[in-house]
Homo-oligomer: 339 residues x 2
Amino acid sequence: MQELRKRKQTIVFSEPPSILSFASVVGKMEACGPLSGSFDLSARDGHFGQISWEKAETHMQRTALQLALQKAALEEKDLDAVFLGDLLNQCIGSSFSMRGKNIPTLGLYGACSTMAEGMLLAGMSVAGGFCNRVSALSSSHFASSERQYRFPLGYGGQRPPTAQWTVTGCGAVIIGKSGNGPYLRSATIGCVTDAGVTDGNNMGAAMAPAAFQTILAHFRDTGTGPKDYDLIVTGDLGKLGSQALRQLFEKEGIDFGPHYEDCGVLIFDLEKQDVHCGGSGCGCSAAVLCGYLLGQMQRRKINRMLFCGTGALLSPVSIQQGESIPSICHAVELHTERS
Amino acid sequence: MQELRKRKQTIVFSEPPSILSFASVVGKMEACGPLSGSFDLSARDGHFGQISWEKAETHMQRTALQLALQKAALEEKDLDAVFLGDLLNQCIGSSFSMRGKNIPTLGLYGACSTMAEGMLLAGMSVAGGFCNRVSALSSSHFASSERQYRFPLGYGGQRPPTAQWTVTGCGAVIIGKSGNGPYLRSATIGCVTDAGVTDGNNMGAAMAPAAFQTILAHFRDTGTGPKDYDLIVTGDLGKLGSQALRQLFEKEGIDFGPHYEDCGVLIFDLEKQDVHCGGSGCGCSAAVLCGYLLGQMQRRKINRMLFCGTGALLSPVSIQQGESIPSICHAVELHTERS
């Protein structure tokens, strides 16, 4: 940990950009979970009226962006850039959703950390004076992910208890120079961390050390601790990964206390919904952020939040080649007050 | 074209960041091509001493970054961020090359436009005052790409005349606040364009309209034209795509004249090297930029260049589903003079 402590990973926005609006779209199962009332839209089934799951994912992205724009009384032409990505090979969910839209597009790959990465870069583009209004968005789809990362759904493979359930969902935020908040105060860029986990069905364990390093770097760079936040929330560590993260901090003598949650644990009822360790996927943190979390901030139930997107940077090829799973975590500090 | 003309897609850097150093690593075939002398390092075979092509790609990235750092007398710890990506599923070339390096990492997916996208974002991060020194890098590998996008190499599939040859190569630049140039003067963010091409073996035709739109937007936003540049260079349109781009501009009444080249045409001897339409892949524009092109700028043979990364945003799944190929082009304006 010695070298980590020397490096500054955090960008502080001296003129904090504001979130102008946000929207979320989810699948049926997510709409049956504990956060049900917080999403803007849910589908009756995973197809969203489309002929393929990939097209369904693209449809979610387009819908979420449209809803977010509507809420801010903006149109597509008002956006100077969109920062987006997904889990599909070559990120086709995102490329196809931006097709023919005539919006300057910057594609990202941060696995399930993409929403946080997008907000970090979107914030930079606005705070740096390069863009006026931008969007960050990200999605995942249970069925398109399963067949790509693991087995075809028809195969009916058994899921081990450590497995998580890829969320069918999408979240989009619009970020601008001036607005009523919440505001992006700072962002911490993560480093690729690898704890040597080789089990693609235990991604929480693989990602917890990345979350630990980034949050610790954030605390160090900003001189804060868990008590300075109403909520520190990780993207999709799930039940086991969240426990592992708490333990890593305990070893450092830092108690997270009641200030810590995980989007993958929040989005499903882990007892009743048969999702084992909880939700995962780019859409997990994106939909929970753009539904429940920013909703709570709007109502001033949460005033200061550290949103930590967590990504497992594996591919089926890397797993088949016996590689361990590199992970990353990017953190964005959101505050209801501008300064 | 009407709507396009209304939108500003170009970021002008009022304090242009400088390229501090650059380096390129290529495979054997690239080292036998016309740009042979311009690369820093080439391998005897496609394995680069590694046990898989994926590991070979990671090795190229690590080597190119190391060389670029050495040339600038910097170390990894001096980097505030790396912006990088590749073509592999879930961008594993990049994730694995940054593993354990303790460098803040921002993963990108822009297909073969990634080098330009990385430079654009790297420039933004420095010009905005968020980072002091950053790197942008990108790679591709013929063998890892072929088996992923098309057929296993052992199958010996015939390549149609419109096909291009994925470059085995990597380029890395280090960008900083102050230096001796070349300088990043401006950058134009591309929109996702789709001309309806469905043939995955004719990517030049698919990408030419994206290059056309971005370059036209750049001309419009900056009030420039082909004569203002010593060189306008696209990433990997290849022979046919380059011709298509010239024709699109001719229709607009704009003659590119002798000011236009394509990295995919430059890197191979199209007559002798049996690469059909030329090179392609993220590594094509990255290695040509970080070898020949920036070399020419250093020697003041080229003083003002528009570097246009071109990406075909397809996946094998999207092609199998009968989808056309969305494309994107990001452009970066480089100048030997700061202002």
